[in-house]
Amino acid sequence: MHKDNQPLIFELTKEGRVGYNLEALDVPAYDLADLLPTGYVREEKAALPEVAELDIMRHYTALSRRNHGVDSGFYPLGSCTMKYNPKVNETVARYSGFANVHPLQDESTVQGAMELLYDLQTSLMEITGMDEVTLQPAAGAHGEWTALMMIRAFHEANGEGHRNKVIVPDTAHGTNPASATVAGFETVTVQSDENGLVDIEDLRKVVGEDTAALMLTNPNTLGLFEENIIEMTELIHSVGGKVYYDGANLNAVMSKARPGDMGFDCVHLNLHKTFTGPHGGGGPGSGPVGVKADLIPFLPKPVLVKLDDGTYHFDYNRPQAIGRVKPYYGNFGINVRAYTYIRTMGPDGLKAVTEYAVLNANYMMRRLQEYFDLPFDRHCKHEFVLSGRRQKKLGVRTLDIAKRLLDFGYHPPTTYFPLNVEEALMIEPTETESKETLDAFCDAMIQIAKEAEENPEIVQEAPHTTVVSRLDETRAARTPVLRYQPTEA
């Protein structure tokens, strides 16, 4: 990585430089004072940069060199499915007929876009075992909340609006309880047992006539398949609740087990994880929601349908719909990428994806189990969780291990999650990595484990090779500086 400090774009500014050109005005000019009300013409121009084109490119190129992506190196960030982002997806999403269509054009002029979305919906129904899919939610958390709002509407429609509790396991993603709160529910936490699975006895204690839903990811965030899934979904159904599948971990079970067949009533998917929409540095995502038949009336509107004449249509006549969850129809550009991916893989390919994702995770787990504590010793799915408690006793924390991995050119695993494992390191290799890459990473982890014993300072003081060393996060939070302020001349 490039070590020199990169100035802020504002610090590269010089009055009189431009980075744009517009056509000269070809209509009569007006005095803005005649066109806008008094007090509404901006007095001071917004202090945006003034930089010429080459220097803009150099600035952002320099910034890109201070950033690590999947194309830069291995990125085994648990629960995030940092697989290869195919380049063909990027090209297809930029086809003018996809990139340059307006969402409010007449339907007859966007049938190609609607066909793609419809076909994607249909594929996702098959992959999840659901009866209908909406592509409107913008990301995973948005999908969670959308599904919970549908569950709420379902209960209200059945005269059971009193159901106000959503059950989440203690290993759940943080968005699960937050989405439940935003959808107006109270969260009840169910404990994990000594095998890392939902404690069925504890679940029995917390279910009741106030249960609206159980939110579950399977495999769970420890990478373990919830073997008692049928018992759990039947238990929730027996008290009138709905079961929600957090699809963040779908990469583990494609062609192996479908949420719909496990008894789930609804599911969200992260197309930016399993289906290779790139993560973009934090977004955009796409979080479609699939539902079983009895939740279909509550889908957000509009619902994309295929008419008898073979044309596609957005149906707004949905009296029980929860409303709109997003303007227009979702993050279309990401949906195009996911569709391209599904069509590139086909049924055989998606099956192989899951098989290799799981093979890779198990292989790494077995290579590393001697050097780090493995809290749950059984086959994992697409990811596994190690504990750094052995290293902690030597004064080396999981945070230090993560920072030391940066020196080897790796993005570290997810750390300190799930919350029920001390000093957790959550590793998800994905299927797109070669054995050589997995081995090299394992070798680095093993070296760090040895360093923790023999030379802990080198780990504790890491990273040594990055453009900045550890940053003072306390200072950032105590005296927040959230924007550039020019220094007074």
Binding site: L22, K45, P327
Partner: protein, 448 residues
């Protein structure tokens, strides 16, 4: 099977199975109960080669009438603007687009700094103290503003102007229902918020007053007066603003806004059939710790070098879980980067010049429609949209226009029965005089 995205060979597989101590990959799935195991193959289309798939999808794309090959006068929240070509070159750098959220700041300084610059540019344009790293889009950003306001004021009513984008209003309503917040609509009069009606509706249970600037009909609202009404009742004043328009309009931060939100799509972001776009969220300093989503802050490293981190994370869902006031996790980082590049390229002078061209060209179109005998419905100040009344149904007219290579205005009859035969027409800086004249002439021919 062999696939270009799957590098494992048979030999690799065998060596790995040996290390794991199982004889087949199937053994790794034995913990899935028999009765839920999926045994067949997905019934989806078979895989296609790269070249064949690209051809098929290019043909699918070609079925759409796009705004590059056709002349578009369609806006209504999503606009066809000049996109500096460097935007796509920057966001195509895979160090940016294949990265995750910058949770490891030492190897994410590029992304973090770019977002810090984005936050600064949005704060500058809106005149607010600070902005976050982006939200999904303008509609959900407005809904998040409503939830923030309800939480902050501990009140349960939102008043939203009828002149706010109808789809944004729908999204606010959906979110509000989740929080048992009442949403009431302040009516419009002459295409702007009826301030007198608003004053009659507002009371001490009102958490927020929401308006759009310029509004859905392209009109410049008197947000100063509306803000005063909100504040007189201790409600927060929320403005949904087109950030390009703020290149020329007095920013909401100078006119009393507590929260300014909107969508940065006009800055270098493709229309892309409605998404992904880029919501922004800007506030006054007193609301800093209640902002939803990620924030990037400046700090120093152990050697005292300047660096950037995600900060004030105690607000966020992964820390607060069920106590979080927003569940947002993903943002629109790549689009925030795109908007930053566009704002940088346009810069201080370009944003103002482009915004001015929008106003002036729209003015030209307005006069051209009036000369051609059309009624222009609202006569207030406008930014880049006007409402034109025709003698016929707009959807029918638009079907005729597309034959001439023109994408017509938005049919307002789709969202308001009173506005049958009214088109919302957007005229941006890329429309030429010749295109505007031809459009007016074709509209004239088709509606007669």
């Amino acid at each position: 099977m062999k696939h270009r995205y799957l590098p494992m060979t048979e030999q690799d597989k065998q060596e790995m199975l040996d290390v794991i101590g199982v004889s087949s990959i199937d053994a790794l799935f034995e913990d899935i109960p028999e009765q839920v195991r999926f045994k067949g193959m997905y019934d989806i289309k078979p895989a296609k080669s790269e070249a064949a798939l690209m051809k098929e999808l290019a043909q699918m794309a070609a079925k759409n009438k796009d705004t590059a090959a056709n002349v578009s006068f369609l806006g209504a929240g999503v606009y066809n603007h000049y996109k500096p070509i460097i935007v796509d070159h920057v966001i195509s750098r895979s160090e940016f687009y294949t990265a995750y959220t910058p949770y490891q700041p030492e190897i994410s300084q590029g992304e973090l700094q770019a977002i810090f610059e984005f936050q600064t540019m949005i704060a500058e344009l809106t005149g607010m103290d600070l902005a976050n790293s982006s939200l999904y889009d303008g509609g959900t950003a407005l809904a998040e503003a409503g939830m923030l306001a309800a939480g902050h004021t501990r009140r349960k009513k939102i008043i939203i102007s009828e002149t706010v984008h109808p789809e944004y209003r729908d999204v606010v309503r959906t979110y509000a229902h989740g929080q048992s917040i009442e949403v009431v609509v302040a009516p419009q009069k002459n295409g702007v918020t009826d301030v007198q009606a608003l004053e009659e509706m507002i009371d001490d249970t009102t958490a927020a007053v929401m308006v759009q600037y310029p509004n859905f009909f392209g009109q410049v609202e008197d947000i100063k007066t509306i803000g005063e009404v909100a504040h007189a009742n201790k409600a927060l004043f929320v403005v949904s603003a087109n950030p390009l328009a703020l290149g020329i309009l007095t920013p909401p931060g100078k006119l009393g806004a507590d929260i300014t939100v909107g969508d940065a799509q006009p800055f270098g972001i493709a229309e892309s059939f409605g998404g992904p776009h880029c919501g922004y969220f800007a506030v006054t300093k007193k609301l800093m710790r209640k902002v939803p989503g990620r924030l990037v802050g400046e700090t120093i490293d152990e050697e005292g070098r300047r660096g950037y981190v995600l900060t004030l994370q105690a607000r966020e869902q992964h820390i607060r879980r069920d106590k979080a006031t927003s569940n947002i996790c993903s943002n629109q980082a790549l689009l925030a980067l795109a908007a930053s590049v566009a704002m940088t390229a346009l810069g201080k002078e370009g944003v103002r010049e482009m915004a001015t061209q929008n106003i002036v060209k729209t003015r030209y179109a307005k006069e051209a429609f009036e000369k051609a005998g059309f009624e222009v419905a609202y006569q207030g100040a406008h930014f880049n949209e006007i409402v034109v009344k025709a003698q016929k149904d707009i959807t029918t007219i638009n079907k005729g226009l597309i034959e001439k290579g023109i994408i017509g205005g938005f049919d307002l009859g789709r969202v308001d029965e009173k506005l049958q035969n009214h088109a919302l027409i957007a005229v941006t800086e890329i429309r030429t005089k010749e295109e505007i004249d031809a459009f007016v002439a074709e509209m004239g021919a088709l509606h007669a």
